[in-house]
Structures are given as structure tokens and as C-alpha cells.
């Protein structure tokens, strides 16, 4: 069975929980040190080509990935909150207009760390994730539709 739990949240949110058999200080070290990030982020089939991390409030990060089948993409964002218990950062894929706000909570008990991650996407981000890039042509039309719907409800 998968160690990763996906919990239900608001419709535009993905909530995940995962327990790591390590103290919180090491989890934070692995998540914020570029040489270490390169070794785990994306998993074994995705290579991290670049990892730049300025881990402080207002600091930014940039990860460039290449998948095993040659597809290249990047995540960029800014840290809004930084503490041992709670980290909040934005996440933008490539040059897409939308961005997600990711809230990570880290709780340590008996030498194990529980990571609770909430990714809140705006509609632009969702569309980009689902349809990839190059969907700009359809954007105007979809905004109109959305406005229409919101006005009715």
C-alpha cells in the first residue's frame, strides 16, 4: 500500500500526508538543501537539472526538471512563511499565469516526522496542469464562461 495519503479538501485543493522515519530537522535539511533536493525531488525517473533555493521569507526558489522521456519543465516560487512547524510558498509551473499556494506542516513525534501538505490551486493553475502549456488561445473564452457561471450562481 502507498505510504502517501491523499485527503479530500476543497475542490481546488490537494491535501497530502506522509510520515518520514526521521526527525524534523533532517526533513527540513533535505527539503531546502539544493544538493539533497536534486537527489529526491521528482523521484528516480525525473532529473533535477537546477535547484536554487533561498530559504527565507521573501526568498525564491527555482527547480528545473527533465523527465525520463525528455520533457523539461520548471517550478518557481517564493517563500511566504518559514518556520520549523509551517512553511508556506507559492508554486508556479513554467510561465503559466496561475500559481498554487502550498502550505506544509511538519510535526515530529518519536523521531518520526509527519508532513501535511495542502496545495491550493487557482483555476489558471488547474487548467495549465491538466492541459499543459500552449493553451493561451482558449483562455479568453474560458474566462467568459467562468464569469457567466459565477454571475448566475
Amino acid at each position: 500500500m502507498s505510504k502517501l495519503k491523499v485527503l479530500s479538501g476543497a475542490p481546488n485543493e490537494i491535501v497530502m500526508e506522509r510520515v518520514f522515519d526521521a526527525p524534523r530537522s533532517l526533513v527540513i535539511k533535505a527539503m531546502t538543501t539544493p544538493e539533497l533536493i536534486k537527489r529526491w525531488l521528482g523521484g528516480v525517473r525525473t532529473t533535477v537539472l537546477t535547484a536554487e533555493v533561498d530559504y527565507r521569507v521573501g526568498g525564491s526558489y527555482r527547480y528545473v526538471f527533465r523527465t525520463h522521456d525528455g520533457y523539461q519543465f520548471q517550478f518557481t516560487g517564493v517563500y511566504r512563511e518559514v518556520s520549523d512547524e509551517r512553511v508556506v510558498h507559492t508554486e508556479k509551473m513554467d510561465d503559466n499565469p496561475g500559481e498554487a499556494v502550498v502550505t506544509t506542516r511538519l510535526t515530529e513525534a518519536n523521531g518520526k516526522t509527519t508532513l501535511h501538505m495542502v496545495m491550493a490551486f487557482d483555476t489558471d493553475e488547474v487548467r495549465d496542469m491538466v492541459f499543459g502549456t500552449g493553451m493561451a488561445d482558449g483562455a479568453g473564452e474560458s474566462y467568459d464562461k467562468l464569469d457567466e457561471l459565477l454571475a448566475q450562481s
Binding site: 502517501l4 475542490p11 526521521a22 525525473t46 491538466v130 457561471l149
Partner: protein
């Protein structure tokens, strides 16, 4: 599913009454009257919600002019699930690799202590 349709799906799902309507329809088709009952809402108010759900492709309406029963359409929800699944896969692979990195960091942290014990 078109991008506009996906936006519509999310907009439709953002409302708790509409989610409750979908939950009710997951148990079986229902008419507007049957749907209005448990929500303590007028039929026109429910009809408005149904229109939004219908445009989002989340429900379809029967042809029977009198009853026009509502039916849950699974496709848009499946598309969203697919997208969530892709995201889940990315993080699952990442975290499995992170386990190995953490194991190594733990051993490194323990190593100097072991040396001290020896001397």
C-alpha cells in the same frame, strides 16, 4: 474535456449546495422536486443550481417534459481525478526517494557519535 469545461466544473463544485446535490444524485436519478425537498430551498433556486451543474457537464436532464429527472455524469469528475492522480504520482515518487536520502542523513548524524563511543 475543454479548458472552459474544466473551469466550469471547478466553479460548479465550489458551492456546497451543488456538491450536496451531486452526492444525492450519486445514489440515483431525481426530479427537481425530489431534490428541493431535503435542501429547504425553492424549486427555482434548485433549478438555478441544476443549470450550473448541467453547463459544467456534471449532470444531464431527462427528456420527460414533466419530470426531467437529473442524472449524475461521471466524466468531468473523472478528468479531475486523473489530474490529481498525476500530481499524486509526482509526490509519491519524490517522497519514496526522500526516504533514502533521510536514511543516509540519519546515518551521517549517528556516525560521529559511534566514533566517540569507540575512543
Amino acid at each position: 474535456m475543454t479548458p472552459a469545461r474544466l473551469d466550469a466544473t471547478f466553479a460548479a463544485l465550489a458551492d456546497p449546495t451543488r456538491r450536496a446535490i451531486l452526492a444525492r444524485l450519486a445514489k440515483g436519478d431525481a426530479s427537481v422536486m425530489e431534490l428541493a425537498e431535503p435542501f429547504a430551498m425553492s424549486q427555482p433556486a434548485i433549478s438555478k443550481h441544476l443549470k450550473v451543474l448541467e453547463r459544467a457537464g456534471l449532470i444531464s436532464r431527462g427528456r420527460d417534459a414533466q419530470r426531467r429527472p437529473c442524472r449524475l455524469e461521471a466524466r468531468p469528475l473523472r478528468d479531475i481525478n486523473l489530474w490529481i492522480e498525476r500530481y499524486r504520482e509526482f509526490w509519491e515518487a519524490s517522497f519514496d526517494a526522500l526516504d533514502d536520502v533521510l536514511e543516509e542523513l540519519k546515518q551521517q548524524a549517528a556516525a560521529p557519535r559511534r566514533k566517540k563511543e569507540k575512543s
